[in-house]
Symmetry: C2
Subunit: 278 residues, 2 copies
């Protein structure tokens, strides 16, 4: 039997839980507040950030959307500092990548660790590596939550993390280093991925390439976490060929796997941050 790690169904359950937390906090007079910061003029990003705001508001959270079509490092830093000091705001999310010319490290480094609910700052990523308590990047939360909901332990396994971004693959590999597991990380374009995939118990992809992982590369019973998001027109494809599913013991479909979970994880972290202050 192959388990489909259904991100949509899981998101619905998680959002109900988060909404219940928000209601509880409301009883104490606290409204979890999230500040969403977008730079540049990418329309897809703008739509995505607006969706985050809408989802937050729908469950009774407070959300602010700040869009800087043009800005400077100095202005952006000053704005983040203002959010750091704002008691209405429990979580700050700066949409990455930033608009061209802006210094990403400077921006994420300015976010107060207590408000870094999207796990973007070096301070947070260092804590992920150290195995210390922090707000995990939404992508990691999504994977761990999906496995938990389907009673699959992330431990005692050999993970292959195929990808190298600061949002997902590198922090995920760092996170796994603190488990009773083994982890192999390789860049999205590493020519050795077929060999590495063959012995992996879990394959987590962030390869930006349609069907890069094929059935001949994996072993029977593999768990597939596919973070691919490869568009061809309006159709989206994963990094993993669906033929792999037949050999897998569990997999995240694309679409409908980890993707839908991301906003829920961000909102849950924000509610946690508000709870800590309560």
């Amino acid at each position: 039997m192959t388990t489909i790690l259904d991100g949509r169904a899981t998101t619905a359950v998680v959002m109900e839980e988060v909404a219940a937390e928000v209601e509880k906090l409301a009883g104490k007079g606290i409204v979890p507040g999230l500040a969403l910061v977008l730079t540049g003029d990418d329309k897809y990003s703008a739509r995505y950030v607006k969706l985050k705001k809408k989802r937050a508001e729908k469950i009774g959270m407070y959300a602010e959307f700040h869009h800087f079509e043009e800005t400077t490092d100095k202005e952006l830093l000053a704005f983040i500092e203002k959010l750091n000091a704002d008691p209405k705001i429990h979580g700050i999310m700066v949409q990455l990548p930033l608009a061209k010319g802006l210094d990403e490290l400077l921006a994420v480094d300015a976010i107060l660790p207590e408000k870094d609910v999207d796990g973007l700052s070096p301070n947070t990523l260092g804590k992920v590596l150290m195995g210390e308590d922090c707000y995990l990047p939404a992508g990691i939360e999504a994977i761990m939550e999906l496995l938990k909901r389907y009673d699959i332990s992330p431990e005692g396994k050999h993970w292959l993390v195929a990808g190298g971004t600061n949002f997902l693959s590198k922090p995920l590999a760092a996170y796994i280093m603190n488990m009773k597991s083994r982890v192999t990380q390789a860049g999205a374009k590493c020519p050795h991925i077929p060999t590495l995939a063959k012995t992996a118990d879990v394959i987590c992809t962030e390869m930006f390439k349609k069907h890069a992982i094929t059935a001949d590369m994996v072993k029977d019973g593999v768990i597939i976490i596919d973070n691919g998001n490869n568009y061809e027109g309006k159709k989206v494809f994963g990094d993993v060929d669906p033929a792999v599913y037949e050999k897998a013991s569990a997999y995240t479909p694309v679409p409908g796997g980890t993707g839908p979970m991301l906003i829920a994880m961000l909102l849950r972290n924000t509610v946690k941050a508000a709870t800590k202050i309560a």
Copy 2:
């Protein structure tokens, strides 16, 4: 031909270079200053920290040794803040582990990133993971420097990092994630290490176990980085059985491999920090 990665000889060369940098800075009226902070009553640690001070002073650096046999988190934090603000001090090293009862994360998180010359803080470790510029932990610097001096590229290889501390193995694996290499990390006691070792091009051990890696576990031509420091009386043994050396293309001996490099790397980072201010 097997290359012996000679830490003592390399340290001597590096220390000459660092001394020359210190002299250059002296010409500009700058003396690189290092604050060494020790807590508790471990005699071995006290001796080691005093050695760091002596080595620094020998090449014309300024060094302070602060020993708190008994202290509190509050007192230690206040002291680190004082060092952060002290213009004589360019680098701060807090000897770990801290004395029992003290909060290690609190202490290392207090060190200003610009003065975190031993790569201890979450901010620094996050930057290591992100591939951003920072002062690398001395253990990583030592390994990369040894490879460089012997013209061995760390890239294009499959690394096995066998160990899981915050000082060495986890940051090292994080560092390698930013190279054109693959890296597998497993805990020091992971039962799968023999299997993982078999396909590794480089094996870096921090296993706290005498001769844990044996010749049958490795492939021909492997590069061995042995961070073992296992004492039996006054004799010290590596994590790697010397019989492995015959199959290796290069290896760090124990003693005389990475160990002697550590102080030199700390001093070099401190001088770099002073240079940035110059």
